[in-house]
């Protein structure tokens, strides 16, 4: 029987961590783009569109990510599309994060004082000009910190993709433990790697929050 050194364990976990990072990145980019689209659609102030988006956000925020993963993974095969674990994970994490990103950004836009809109109206700016020159630049600045902060949630959310068989950090940990039977050591390594990915993001979010706070 083959012996695993600590370095073997760590090396294999590090290799698996690539997939955690890649999955996080794809979810961040996909969720960001889709969340942005939702935010733009919603800013058109159409009652029907707003209701639909509100419903979308409620659904994706109100169902555990794990269930969303199951539903995507098994749901697609039900309607005749075979999706692999990788695709299912990217799709559900993208939808999940888009709901949260949209909510964060909408909140930032609505947090701006009503007086900013009124000043623009009295100056004769159109709705689009108001958004483009006054609202979005301020809302963007405000949203940077919570957006980076939420990316930590995405990273941790990728761990759930292990249950549909996607081999990322958590799944790799489980598999290695099945070979070495040293659960505490293996999962301590797994936890450490998650922390090493998330902690810099938290620090960045805190730094950006402070920086933008002073700038206001």
């Amino acid at each position: 029987m083959m012996q695993f050194t600590d370095w073997d364990i760590l090396r294999n976990l590090l290799l698996a961590a690539r997939w955690t990072i890649l999955l996080s990145l794809l979810a961040f980019i996909g969720g960001g783009l889709f969340g942005l689209l939702l935010t733009i659609l919603r800013s058109m102030r159409n009652t029907l569109i707003t209701r639909l988006i509100q419903g979308y956000v409620e659904v994706f925020q109100g169902i555990p990510l794990l269930m969303q993963l199951f539903l995507t993974f098994f749901g697609f095969s039900l309607i005749g599309f075979e999706v692999d674990a990788w695709t299912a994970a990217v799709i559900s994490l993208t939808l999940f994060s888009s709901a949260f990103f949209h909510d964060i950004w909408r909140g930032c836009i609505e947090a701006l004082p009503k007086g900013q809109w009124e000043a623009c109206r009295t100056l004769g700016l159109s709705y689009l000009q108001t958004m483009r020159y006054v609202i979005v630049p301020q809302a963007m600045r405000m949203s940077i910190a919570p957006t980076v902060g939420f990316s930590v949630q995405i990273v941790k959310g990728t761990a759930l993709a292990s249950v549909i068989g996607f081999v990322e950090l958590t799944k790799a940990g489980t598999m290695i433990n099945n070979a070495v039977f040293q659960p505490f050591k293996v999962f301590a390594f797994v936890a450490l790697l998650y922390f090493l990915i998330c902690f810099p993001l938290s620090l960045l979010a805190r730094y950006l929050e402070k920086k933008n706070h002073v700038a206001r």
Binding site: G115, T122, L123, G124, L125, S126, Q129
Partner: protein, 242 residues
Amino acid sequence: MSLVSLDKVHKYYGDNHVLKGVDLKIEAGEVVSIIGRSGSGKSTLLRCMNGLEQYQKGGVIVDNQSVEDDEYKLRLLSRSVGMVFQSFNLFPHMTVGQNVMLATKLVLKKSPSESKKLAEELLEKVGLSDKFSAYPGNLSGGQQQRVAIARSLAMSPKVLLCDEITSALDPELVGEVLKVLEQLKAEGMTLILVTHEMNFARDVGDRVVFMNQGKVWETGASDEIFANPQTEELKSFLAAVR
């Protein structure tokens, strides 16, 4: 034709009847102070003159344009009516100069150099020519409010609406803002102010409108109103604010 003319204006917030048939005419060049207790509808009245509030009955005509709930018409109207707010409402992410130039570039389509020249002139007029590149957050309240006035003036409005523009200022900063208003009056600008500055209303204003219970309760020449109030309500109001 009066510059501003309100005809039996009624305004409701839900069941709350805020304006109960207001008639008011204001001529070009007049400086009119609107005074009254809080909740008497004076700010709402002012905001009906530029479409920030919709009214339900009656009519408002400013500079020969009917003030209606219509985006396009309100944008045209904004060239005739400027407004300065209690909370300044400057754009904090732009410099003072950019604040003043934004609408001249986007709305009046003036060239950047033309806009800049105008902004510099206006900032000089309000005594802030050295603050062109400063950010609003680094200015005092009085300075911010003077920038807001310059920003409004950049659209060369025919009438400037001032909604309690000194109420958020420390007492020692009120004077510098009122001085700018006096200067504007001297140049012939029409000013309509909702104000608590009774001295300013009396000394600089031509006419005072006393609002009470959503109506124009009493109106008249400034010195007359303060020296010789006719109604009990105005007498008790003046006694309370003095």
